[in-house]
C-alpha cells in the first residue's frame, strides 16, 4: 500500500503477545488515525466494559500522512473509552507517530492487562515486552532516559506515563519527549490500568508514496503557504509569549473557576512585559514536531527550576485560572505537571475549583490537609499539585477528577465542578462565542480546548461573512452574537477537524491558518494514489462522528450530557471587550437542535437509521440497534 503502511499492530498485555492485522480491513471507510481507532472501539469494546477493565482498548493512530513530509503531519490520535466512561480522543505530537509509521504500522491496538508493570519495545517487526518494575514511580523524563539507555538506541522515540497515570488519576497524560502529550482526557490512566508504563519505537521501514515527485511539490506548496501565513509569522516572531496577553485582549480569559472576566488592558500590558522579560532571560531554543515548520515548543532554562518546555497551555491555564501573571511560576507549575504526568487544563480546573469552594466557605483548610486554598496562593497551588500527583492525603479526592472530588466533598460542591461529560472544562470564555460554546457542549470526542475556530473571531466583518458562506452556506453565521445557523456551522467545522484527524495533520493548521483543506486532501490523494475529493473525506469524517456518537449513546450518553456548566447561562460577562454578553439557555437548546439536524440525528441525539445507511454504515447500524434493544430489555 502507498501512504498507509498496511498493517495494524495488536498488543495483548494479558498474554504478552503481539499480532498483525491488515489495515485494508478498515481503511476504505475509516481512512486512518482517529477513524480506525473509533471503528476498533465500536467493534470490540462492549458498552458495559468499564474504562479500567482489561477489555478496554487504547489506540494509537498516526494517520495516513503521518510519517511523511506533509507539513504538520505528525499528530497521532490517541483514542480510548476514557475514565469519564465515554470515548474520547486526543492528539500527541513530537515524533512518536512518525516512528510508528516507519516501523510499519498504521495503528496500534493495546488491550488486556499485564500482571506486572511492563513497557513495550517495538523495532520494526520485533515486539518485546520488557519489565518496567524499576520504572514504576519514575517521572516521564527519567523514564525515557532509562529506556533509551536500556535499549541502547538514543534515537528511539518513547511515549510513557508518569506517576499519576500509574495511580489512575483521571486526568493523567501520555507524554513524549519533553513537551508533547495526549493531555486532556485521561489516557495516562488507561495506560496505567493496563500496567503499561511506556511504548518505545524505532522503525527503519519508511513510508511509500504513490506519486512521489508530485507529492514533494505539493508539500513544498503547503510549506510555503504555512510560512507565509500571517498567523504563523506572528507566532514565530513572538515565540509564543503573546498567548496570554492576546487572550486577555480578545476577551477569552475568565478568571479563577470561570467566575468572572476582569482582566483588562492593564493586565495584558503586565503580561506583555513579564513575558518579554522571561523569554529574554530564559529561552534556550524552540523545537518543532516532525515535519512542522512552526516549531511550537519553547525550551527554557530557569535557574532553580530546571530545563523544560511546557506547552503553550501553561501560559493560559496557569495564568487566569490561577490568577497569576508570574511567568516563573507558570513555568514551574507546568514542569511539575509534566513530572507527574497530569494535564494542565484539568489541574488548573481542580485548583480553581478548590479555591472557589474555599472562598465560598464550603471547604476550609481542614478539608485540604491544612492548606488554605486561597485564590492565587502560589505555595498552596504547588502543595496541592504535589498531593494530586502523588495521590496522597487530600490529593486522592481528585482521582476521578473534579467530578469525583465534588462527590466526595458534597455540601453542594457539584455546582462548582466545571466539566463537560465528566472531563474538566478548558479555561476559555465562551459566552460571547455562540458557535464555540455549542461546539464545547456537543463535540463529544474532542475534549481538548482546540475545538473549532469561528469565522467571526478576529476577522473583519466582510472577510468573516465570506468565510461563513463558504463553510456553511450562511453569511449570518459570521456574527458571533447570533444563535442562528450555528448548528450548521459547527457541524461543517467538525467535519473539517475530522479530516485533519484522519490524516494526521495538525489541527493548528485547520484552526488558525486555513479551514480549507484542498492541500491536505491533495497530499492524501498523491500519497495513496486514490483520487479523492474533499467530499470523500468529509463523508469519512461524518462516519467517524456518527460512530463516536453511537458508542457514547450505548454507553449511556443522553442529550442532557451535551451541555455546558450552568454558570455560563444567565450571568453576563463581567468585563473585557465582551462585557455584558450572555448565553441564553433556550436559544442554546435550539442550536443543539440545529446541530443534531445537520448531523442527521434525532432530537434526543441518537443518530437516525437513515444516517447510518447514507454513510455506508448499515452493518454498524445493526450492531448499534442490537446494543440499544439489549439496554431497553435490561431496563
Amino acid at each position: 500500500m502507498f501512504g498507509w503502511s498496511g498493517k495494524i499492530l495488536r498488543i495483548d498485555l494479558t498474554e504478552h503477545k503481539a499480532s498483525i492485522e491488515p489495515t485494508q480491513l478498515y481503511s476504505e471507510r475509516f481512512i486512518g488515525g482517529r477513524g480506525i481507532n473509533l471503528k476498533v472501539i465500536f467493534d470490540e469494546v462492549d458498552p458495559h466494559t468499564k474504562p479500567f477493565d482489561p477489555e478496554n482498548r487504547l489506540l494509537f493512530g498516526p494517520g495516513v500522512l503521518g510519517g511523511t513530509c506533509a507539513p504538520t503531519a505528525s499528530r497521532m490520535q490517541v483514542t480510548a473509552v476514557g475514565p469519564s466512561g465515554f470515548v474520547t480522543s486526543s492528539g500527541i505530537g513530537g515524533r512518536i507517530g512518525n516512528e510508528i509509521k516507519y516501523a510499519g504500522f498504521d495503528n496500534i491496538i493495546v488491550q488486556g492487562k499485564s500482571d506486572t508493570p511492563v513497557y513495550i519495545n517495538i523495532r520494526d517487526d520485533i515486539i518485546e515486552f520488557k519489565d518496567a518494575v524499576h520504572l514504576w514511580g519514575k517521572d516521564p523524563r527519567k523514564t525515557q532516559e532509562i529506556i533509551k539507555d536500556e535499549i541502547g538506541d538514543p534515537e528511539t522515540q518513547i511515549m510513557c506515563i508518569g506517576p499519576a497515570g500509574e495511580k489512575l488519576v483521571s486526568f493523567s497524560c501520555i507524554l513524549t519527549g519533553m513537551y508533547s502529550a495526549a493531555g486532556h482526557g485521561g489516557y495516562g490512566a488507561i495506560m496505567g490500568s493496563k500496567n503499561l508504563k511506556a511504548i518505545a519505537v524505532r522503525g527503519k521501514k519508511g513510508v511509500k508514496i504513490a506519486k512521489m515527485a508530485e507529492f514533494l511539490n505539493a508539500c513544498y506548496v503547503m510549506r510555503n503557504d504555512i510560512m507565509e501565513n500571517p498567523v504563523c509569522k506572528a507566532v514565530i516572531d513572538s515565540g509564543g509569549r503573546t498567548t496570554a496577553p492576546e487572550a486577555v485582549r480578545a476577551g477569552l480569559a475568565p478568571m479563577g473557576n470561570l467566575e468572572n472576566t476582569l482582566w483588562d488592558e492593564s493586565i495584558a500590558k503586565e503580561l506583555d512585559a513579564k513575558g518579554n522579560e522571561f523569554w529574554k532571560r530564559y529561552r534556550v531554543s524552540s523545537i518543532g514536531c516532525a515535519g512542522c515548520p512552526m516549531h511550537h515548543y519553547y525550551v527554557f532554562d530557569v535557574p532553580g527550576i530546571g530545563l523544560g518546555a511546557p506547552k503553550c497551555a501553561a501560559w493560559a491555564e496557569f495564568a487566569w485560572p490561577l490568577k497569576n501573571t508570574d511567568y516563573n511560576f507558570m513555568f514551574k507549575v507546568g514542569m511539575l505537571c509534566n513530572e507527574y504526568g497530569i494535564d494542565f487544563t484539568s489541574t488548573a480546573r481542580s485548583i480553581s475549583f478548590l479555591s472557589e469552594l474555599y472562598h465560598r466557605g464550603i471547604i476550609t483548610e481542614n478539608d485540604t490537609d491544612g492548606i488554605a486554598m486561597r485564590s492565587g496562593d502560589k505555595d498552596a497551588i504547588i502543595a496541592m499539585i504535589h498531593k494530586i500527583g502523588t495521590q496522597e492525603g487530600c490529593g486522592r479526592i481528585f482521582q476521578n477528577g473534579v467530578v469525583g472530588a465534588a462527590e466526595q466533598i458534597g455540601r453542594g460542591a457539584e455546582e462548582f465542578a466545571l466539566n463537560i461529560k465528566g472531563v474538566e472544562m478548558f479555561s476559555s470564555e465562551l459566552r460571547p462565542f455562540k458557535a464555540m460554546a455549542l461546539a464545547y457542549a456537543v463535540l463529544q470526542i474532542n475534549v481538548d480546548g482546540m475545538v473549532i475556530m469561528e469565522p467571526g473571531m478576529g476577522k473583519p466583518k466582510e472577510e468573516a461573512e465570506k468565510l461563513a458562506l463558504q463553510l456553511c452556506g450562511a453569511r449570518e453565521a459570521a456574527d458571533l452574537a447570533t444563535y442562528k445557523k450555528k448548528g450548521m456551522l459547527v457541524s461543517a467545522l467538525e467535519e473539517r477537524v475530522g479530516v485533519v484527524e484522519l490524516l494526521g495533520v495538525c489541527k493548528w493548521y485547520m484552526l488558525y491558518l486555513t479551514p480549507f483543506l484542498e492541500l491536505p486532501v491533495k497530499l492524501y490523494s498523491l500519497a495513496t494514489g486514490i483520487d479523492a475529493a474533499e467530499e470523500d473525506l468529509f463523508i469519512a469524517a461524518r462516519r467517524m462522528r456518527t460512530l463516536a456518537k453511537a458508542i457514547n449513546i450505548s454507553r449511556g450518553l443522553t442529550r442532557k450530557d451535551d451541555a455546558l456548566p450552568d454558570r455560563l447561562f444567565g450571568n453576563p460577562v463581567s468585563g473585557g471587550i465582551f462585557k455584558g454578553a450572555t448565553l441564553d439557555k433556550c436559544e442554546f437548546q435550539k442550536m443543539i437542535d440545529d446541530y443534531y439536524t445537520a448531523c442527521g440525528w434525532e432530537k434526543d441525539g441518537i443518530p437516525q437509521e437513515s444516517t447510518f445507511h447514507a454513510l455506508g454504515l448499515s452493518a454498524e447500524w445493526k450492531t448499534f440497534k442490537r446494543r440499544m434493544s439489549r439496554e431497553m430489555q435490561n431496563g
Binding site: 525515557q144 519508511g206 511509500k208 513544498y220 516532525a290 515535519g291 518546555a309
Partner: protein
C-alpha cells in the same frame, strides 16, 4: 562554481523535514533511516543538530576505500561513490570522523550525501535556513563581518567606559 552545504545549527528546530525529503528523493520512500542527512536530536534537552557530510578535501573514506570506489566529482567538489566498484565493505563508515557514511540495510548499499547534483533538496525544504548551499569563497564572509561587528561593539563600550573612569 565551488559550493558547500553550510549548517547553521542555531536555526535548526529539529523538524526533521530534511531527512524525510532526502530519503524521498534518493530512495523514493520517506524514511529518515535511509536519509543522507541526519538530525541528531536530544529530546530531553530540546536540542537538534543537522549532521551533514563535510565533503572533505582529504577524505578518509576515499583514502581507505580498497577498490577506489570513492572519487571526487570536480563539478561539485563532492565526494561520490561509484556503485560499479563499491564492494560494500563498510571501511569508509569505520573511518569517517563525522559518522556521515551510512550503511542502508534496506538496499544494502553504502550511502552518503551527493549534494543532489548541485540542488540539495534539504536546503530547499529547510524552513529556517539551518541549511544553506553557499559559495565556498563566501562561506566565512558573513561570520567574519558579524564577528568583527561584535568585537567592535565590545571595544567601543570598553573604551567609553574607561574614558568615563
Amino acid at each position: 562554481m565551488d559550493k558547500v552545504l553550510l549548517v547553521n545549527p542555531e536555526n535548526c528546530h529539529a523538524c526533521r523535514t530534511c531527512e524525510m525529503v532526502c530519503s524521498a528523493t534518493h530512495e523514493n520512500t520517506i524514511n529518515p533511516f535511509q536519509s543522507r542527512i541526519k538530525i541528531i536530536q536530544w529530546e530531553n534537552e530540546g536540542e537538534g543538530f543537522p549532521a551533514v557530510c563535510a565533503q572533505c578535501e582529504d577524505a578518509p573514506c576515499r583514502a581507505i576505500c580498497p577498490v577506489k570506489a570513492i572519487y571526487v566529482d570536480e563539478s561539485l567538489s563532492s565526494v561520490m561513490i561509484d556503485y560499479n566498484l563499491c564492494i560494500g565493505c563498510r571501511m569508509c563508515i569505520a573511518v569517517c570522523p563525522f559518522g556521515m557514511m551510512h550503511f542502508d540495510s534496506v538496499t544494502r548499499k553504502i550511502i552518503k550525501c551527493d549534494l543532489c547534483e548541485g540542488e540539495p533538496i534539504c536546503v530547499k525544504f529547510c524552513p529556517y535556513e539551518a541549511l544553506e548551499y553557499v559559495d565556498t569563497a563566501e562561506l566565512e564572509t558573513g561570520k567574519r563581518r558579524e564577528g568583527a561587528k561584535q568585537l567592535l561593539k565590545f571595544l567601543r563600550k570598553t573604551v567609553s567606559t574607561q574614558n568615563n573612569i
